[in-house]
């Protein structure tokens, strides 16, 4: 299997889907400059640079999607989504419903997110929970290049607006990516590691922190199951509930701010639908209620690390904990 970075896996998915469907087009601030191979193959009308105007990039995608095109837009860093919230939330997410189902909005919005480059709070802010909260939108965040490629292909073929988050910390890490037209249903979690003692649920870069923690825990005799959500909406509720029903213990881990984050959603889900199976409190590990600092040590401290996860899991087995 060829090895690709997540960034290049995205490029492959774009190329394959553009080849497959002439209605797919890509635009954004610099996308034609940076993905020059796509311009070469598909021409400047299907791969476009745009003015520095996130609102109109997103609005144009929504209008185009409603009338037959399948746009993919690159909005660069997640905080810049703040300039496109009306277009994404009030238009893309609601106009199908408001119109009584007359229109569909097949569009994908790419955005980079998370720690890794020391770029500070206005480039590094994990906003995926906002879009899970908002109706009519799907939300995807892969943890490796193979998933990124397959999920992006599915997202482009999906008739709904999809927010597709790329974890900055993973962007240039290579991984094996199968050749050919692989797809992955949205809403299907992966069991990244099996175990029966405690369930660690995560997505994006912290999946890897969970896997590291599971490794540490195994040495202490605790078998952790690691679930990589991959898609945050639809959410694979069945996989989460099945795992917790088996293990009786749950830790949810993500980099995004903890308050009203995806971790809260999962904890609430389990506290309602797998309560009887729970043998210990549900622990949430996530970013504090603070912006992210640029300074390297603070940026790192913001993200739940493997040691913290392992320590939390051990706490769940302490007889004094509850």
């Amino acid at each position: 299997m060829p090895s690709l970075t997540l960034y290049d896996a995205v490029g492959e998915a774009l190329g394959e889907e553009m080849r497959r469907n002439p209605g797919v087009l890509v635009f954004g601030e610099g996308v034609a400059t940076k993905r020059h191979a796509l311009v070469e193959e598909f021409g400047p009308l299907r791969v476009r640079n745009t003015p520095l105007s996130e609102g109109i990039i997103a609005g144009t995608a929504v209008g185009a999607a409603a009338t037959g095109l399948r746009p993919v837009i690159d909005l660069l860093f997640a905080p810049f989504l703040c300039y496109a919230m009306d277009e994404l939330v009030n238009s893309a997410g609601k106009l199908r419903y408001i119109s009584g189902g007359q229109f569909a909005f097949p569009l994908v919005t790419l955005a980079m997110t998370g720690a890794g480059w020391g770029v500070g709070a206005q480039h590094n802010h994990n906003l995926e929970a906002w879009f899970v909260h908002s109706p009519g939108l799907k939300v995807v965040m892969p943890s490796n290049p193979a998933d990124a490629k397959a999920l992006l292909k599915t997202a482009i073929r999906d008739d709904n607006p999809v927010l597709f988050f790329l974890d900055i910390g993973l962007l240039y890490q290579p991984g094996e990516v199968p050749l050919g037209d692989q797809q992955l249903s949205l809403g299907l979690a992966a069991i990244a590691r099996e175990g029966q003692d405690v369930t660690l649920v995560s997505y994006g870069k912290t999946v890897h922190h969970c896997l590291q923690a599971a490794h540490t825990l195994a040495e202490k005799g605790i078998a952790a199951e690691v679930i990589d959500l991959r898609s945050l909406k639809p959410l694979d509720e069945a996989a989460i509930l099945a795992s917790v029903t088996k293990t009786g213990r749950l830790i949810v881990v993500h980099e995004a701010n903890r308050l009203c984050g995806v971790g809260a959603e999962i904890a609430a889900l389990v506290a309602e639908y797998a309560f009887a199976a729970l043998q210990a409190p549900i622990i949430r590990l996530g970013g504090p209620d603070a912006p992210v600092a640029s300074s390297y040590p603070l940026e790192q401290a913001f993200v739940p690390q493997a040691e913290t996860i392992a320590a939390a899991a051990q706490r769940l087995f302490s007889p004094h904990y509850a």
Binding site: G23, L25, L45, R48, T50, P51, S53, G55, I56, A58, G59, T60, A61, V62, G63, A64, A65, A66, T67, G68, L69, P71, D86, E87, N90, S91, L95, R96, Y97, I98, S99, G100, G101, Q102, F103, A104, F105, P106, P135, G136, K138, D158, D159, N160
Partner: protein, 320 residues
């Protein structure tokens, strides 16, 4: 290359304006009794809607906003289905899910109505991009208000449309008001055309209360968009005769300004001129009133008979 625009019988324009007025008058009456939810009416602005829409072909696509009854009816919308929509009934154009504020009607080419002021501007370039990429002949008409012109989306939309050469006719219905704020309190310049010109977009202001002038200007502007495949802007200078939303006591309105505009009512003007020109006589005028009243009665009966949406509509149409 310029083809002559089709001749349109001005009596037809009058009839459309009268239909819009009559339709909105039942909305107003119903909002007083509470039978019909409050709406934003276009009373006084009918000429702007009718003049522009009659310059379009069936292939053209329309985006509109919260004050859309005129655009929809001029485009041929069924007043019964419109009213059902406003009343939240399942036979409305949007199954009652929109209500009055964001009615779209795909079958009429009225796509993507948003009540977020400025969103019509943000959505229009994408619709025009589809027309262009698929080589469709139609152009896009985007109706928006002077208020919408104050949103950042105005700037972004016009810049992109000019840059990407998108076939959009931007129609700003400048009705002097932005909800409870007069345009003079909101705009650094008198005319939206002042702004449009700065993108190199041909822009013109027309008397929005004279349906014949609006039609002529819209025919010229749509012809220019069709031929150049580039955007143009038309500002229809008009006045919102009633409040922002029904009911509204308009206590904040300058009465001298309002009186002057009321004296220029587009329907009375058009009718009086047709009569003066001998193109309409009293019997025909009365028959028109009659005809419209009976259409409205049918519409009302249709809407009244339409059921509310079933409970499972709560979560239907969210995802494709």
């Amino acid at each position: 290359m310029a083809t002559q625009p089709p001749q349109i019988d001005p009596r037809q324009l009058l009839e459309q304006m009268m239909l819009i007025r009559a339709y909105e008058e039942i909305l107003i009456a119903g909002s007083v009794t509470g039978k019909i939810p409050g709406t934003c009416t276009s009373v006084g602005q009918e000429a702007a809607a009718v003049g522009v829409v009659n310059a379009l072909t069936a292939a053209d696509l329309i985006l509109t906003n919260h004050r859309s009854a005129g655009h929809l009816l001029a485009r041929g919308a069924d007043p019964g289905r419109l009213l059902a929509e406003v009343m939240g009934r399942s036979d409305g154009y949007c199954k009652g899910k929109s209500g009055s504020l964001h009615i779209s009607a795909k079958e009429l080419g009225v796509v993507l109505t948003s009540t977020i002021v400025g969103a019509e501007l943000s959505l229009a370039p994408g619709v025009a991009l589809s027309q262009t990429m698929f080589g469709r002949p139609g152009i896009v008409v985007c109706f928006f208000g002077d208020g919408a012109a104050c949103e950042g989306s105005f700037h972004e939309s016009l810049n992109l449309a000019a840059l990407w050469q998108l076939p959009i006719l931007y129609v700003c219905e400048n009705n002097q008001w932005q909800a409870f704020v007069h345009r003079r309190e909101a705009m650094s310049r008198e005319h939206v055309t002042d702004w449009a010109a700065s993108y190199g977009i041909p822009a013109r202001t027309v008397d929005g209360n004279d349906v014949v002038s609006v039609l002529a200007a819209a025919q010229a502007a749509t012809a220019q968009v069709r031929e150049s495949r580039r955007p143009c802007l038309l500002e229809t200078w008009t006045y919102r005769s009633r409040g922002h939303f029904e009911p509204d006591d308009q206590s904040y309105v300058d009465s001298a300004e309002r009186e002057a505009w009321l004296a220029r009512d587009p329907i009375a003007n058009c009718r009086d001129r047709l009569i003066a020109d001998g193109r309409l006589d009293a019997t025909e005028a009365a028959a028109l009133v009659e005809k419209i009243a009976s259409r409205i009665a049918v519409a009302q009966a249709f809407a009244d008979a339409s059921p509310f949406p079933a409970a499972d509509e709560l979560t239907r149409d969210v995802y494709a």
